[in-house]
């Protein structure tokens, strides 16, 4: 097990990248603490799989270094790095039994038969696959195949890091829950560093202690699930996490106060930075209340999603989503919206541009 340090990492799939757009990874500096449970979250094509493959050694980065503790492993093969990886689609060795599949990584490293047997049975027990051990892997259902490939990732106890590349994509929803909590449980038991790549926020937030959010080859925020939800550092994080995501509303700034459609909006605290570029107010639907005073808006539609209702309203030309737990207003009704000041933030060019005010600290 090791602490993983990425420094000055850039990667391009072109042999001679011209501009920043040619880079799949734009500049990554990141420390992964030993024993942490991390999730790498981002939309498809944001560079998360590239980053994962660089850590595992399947790709050599164009620039920058990968360190395991103090050892530079940038040019080592996956085998030499001593890591484990579980892929999006199940990778199993068809002609072997489940037992041999699980034993394969250990056998290749010359582990003695007794230890192999013990480890394989332990892992099979954890994954509830003991009764599958003697079956030929080719005949398994997709769920079980993926279970076995996860098992192969977990069977070695000396790995530096275990990486999961969207491993639950092919699994049935009800089994997803089970396997996800199983993974969490496994992490607590083995205490290996685990990195879990996904585009599914629920998966990321349930599995990880720390979530790394990526977009377009850049890390936009690292934080606990609560931090990501409550104080998104970038409008992308606000919008990507949460259902529906944060409302991002273009606004004006006059002498330190934000104006939305000419109405003054109190923010969480003083505005920082140069405030140049595109200015937006970010407020989550959870923190908007409907009242008699505030920003006037008209209800377009309401959607009942079980636990609560989502009201979509138009304030002038801007769409706003509001989550209400009580009775919802009718379509076409004129309403007034109040933004919870402590949860209302200003974003300049996408990045957070307010501090927590003195009174709130």
């Amino acid at each position: 097990m090791a602490k993983i340090t990425l420094s000055g990492l850039r990667h391009s799939y072109y042999p001679e990248p011209q501009g920043p757009d040619d880079y799949a990874l734009k500049e990554i500096d990141l420390d992964w603490q030993d024993g942490g449970a991390y999730a790498l979250l981002g939309p498809s094509g944001c560079g998360k799989s590239t980053l994962l493959n660089i850590i595992s050694g399947l790709l050599v980065p164009s620039e920058g270094r990968v360190m395991f503790d103090d050892r530079d492993v940038t040019h080592l093969t996956p085998d030499q790095r001593n890591i484990a990886q579980v892929f999006q689609f199940p990778v199993i060795y068809d002609t072997m039994t489940v037992y041999k599949n699980l034993a394969f990584p250990l056998r290749n490293r010359g582990v003695d038969a007794e230890t192999i047997d013990r480890r394989v049975r332990e892992i099979a027990e954890m994954l509830e696959a003991t009764d599958l051990l003697d079956q030929r892997a080719a005949g398994l259902s997709p769920d079980n195949k993926q279970k076995i490939s996860m098992g192969r990732g977990l069977v070695r106890d000396d790995v530096n890091v275990v990486m999961f590349d969207e491993p639950l994509t092919v699994i049935d929803p009800h089994l997803k829950w089970k396997l996800r909590s199983k993974l969490k449980e496994l992490h607590q038991r083995v205490r290996a560093t685990m990195i879990y790549v996904t585009h599914d926020q629920t998966e990321a937030l349930t599995f990880a202690d720390q979530v790394v959010v990526m977009n377009q080859g850049v890390i936009v925020q690292i934080g606990t699930p609560v931090e990501l939800f409550e104080r998104p550092a970038h409008t992308f994080v606000g919008h990507f996490i949460g259902s529906p995501g944060m409302n991002v509303l273009p606004c004006e700034l006059q002498g330190g106060t934000a104006l939305l459609n000419g109405v003054e909006i109190p923010l969480e605290g003083p505005v920082t930075g140069t405030q140049a570029g595109r200015l937006e107010i970010g407020i989550r639907p959870e923190f908007i209340t409907i009242g008699d005073t505030g920003i006037p808006a008209r209800v377009c539609k309401t959607a009942d999603i079980g636990r609560h209702r989502v009201v979509h309203a138009m304030a002038g030309t801007q769409k706003i989503a509001i989550i209400v737990t009580g009775p919802a207003p009718e379509q076409g009704e004129e309403i007034h919206l109040r933004f919870e000041p402590r949860q209302t933030r200003l974003y300049a060019d996408g990045w957070l541009a307010t501090e927590i005010g003195e009174a709130e600290k």
């Binding site: 493959n53 595992s56 990778v91 060795y93 030929r136």
Partner: protein
């Protein structure tokens, strides 16, 4: 509620007619000949199963069958491993893939009798490229019209040259269908190159290789044109394969009855071996 009627039979009818005219009826005429004797003038005498008995007991048939199995066995033993090795060493993507594929497919596009003629000239001791090289440069006595070993070497080399690319194409198709994740997982699992071949590539190629072996078996077991043009079955009878012998009996000696019986036996052997092989190879398949 589904309506039950017999309409579906009408949809099978065209296929039935087609198969009848291109397979069943011609075969039945052969069956007809195989149980009769004729001395010409379209006069036939009932002969029962005598011809079959005669063929099955004949040393000439046994020798030809033995040569046929030897030929097919040798070309399979060379073409299949060679094809797999070539497929494994081909690039996975890029500019050279179409170049390799097209170049290798060229021999397959050449008509059978042209292949025979080409190799005939190629191996002529005094003017052929290979023949001259062997005799006058290497000093090895190589003349396929005189020496059975040279004749066998030539027909085997010719078949390997003509058909290995079919195995390559099929094996290559099997190989490129393996997702990258398998190779990546194998790297991470610390698998050796041999393990990658044994546990990933070979199992994934199994289905296409089954087809490749089946095609090459059937085709080489029925081979006629190329060895006929090249050696004419000689020197002596040393390269008289089953089909060459069959044509000698049927058209050379005009023994229609024995020839018909022999072709049915020939057909039955081809069918039986193909069926056995295919059944054995696919018995573990989950589908």
């Amino acid at each position: 509620m589904k309506t039950e009627n017999q309409k579906a039979w009408f949809f099978v009818l065209p296929v039935l007619l087609l198969v009848a005219f291109n397979a069943l009826i011609p075969i039945m005429t052969v069956v007809n000949y195989s149980v009769q004797e004729t001395f010409g003038n379209n006069v036939f005498f009932w002969q029962g199963l005598d011809w079959f008995e005669q063929i099955l007991r004949s040393d000439r048939f046994h020798a030809a069958l033995g040569r046929q199995f030897l030929f097919t066995g040798l070309i399979l033993a060379i073409e299949i491993p060679l094809g797999v090795v070539i497929a494994l060493s081909m690039p996975r993507k890029g500019f050279w893939v179409p170049v390799c594929l097209v170049t290798m497919s060229l021999p397959m596009l050449i008509p059978y009798n042209v292949v025979g003629a080409m190799w005939n000239i190629f191996t002529l001791p005094d003017i052929g490229l290979l023949g001259y090289f062997m005799n006058h440069v290497l000093g090895i006595n190589y003349d396929m019209t005189q020496d059975p070993v040279a004749a066998w070497f030539t027909i085997i080399a010719m078949d390997v040259w003509h058909w290995t690319s079919l195995v390559v194409l099929l094996a290559y198709a099997g190989l490129v269908s393996i997702p990258d994740a398998y190779y990546q997982a194998a790297k991470i699992d610390g698998a050796s190159n041999w393990s990658v071949f044994r546990f990933i590539q070979l199992p994934k190629m199994k289905n296409v290789l089954t087809i490749a072996i089946l095609l090459r078996f059937m085709d080489s077991f029925n081979i006629y044109t190329e060895p006929f043009v090249l050696t004419g079955g000689g020197p002596g009878n040393s390269t008289t394969l089953l089909s060459i012998d069959l044509v000698k009996i049927a058209l050379g000696q005009f023994d229609l009855g024995p020839a018909a019986a022999m072709s049915l036996i020939y057909f039955a052997i081809t069918l039986l071996v193909s069926w056995l092989f295919y059944t054995l190879m696919t018995k573990d398949d989950p589908y």
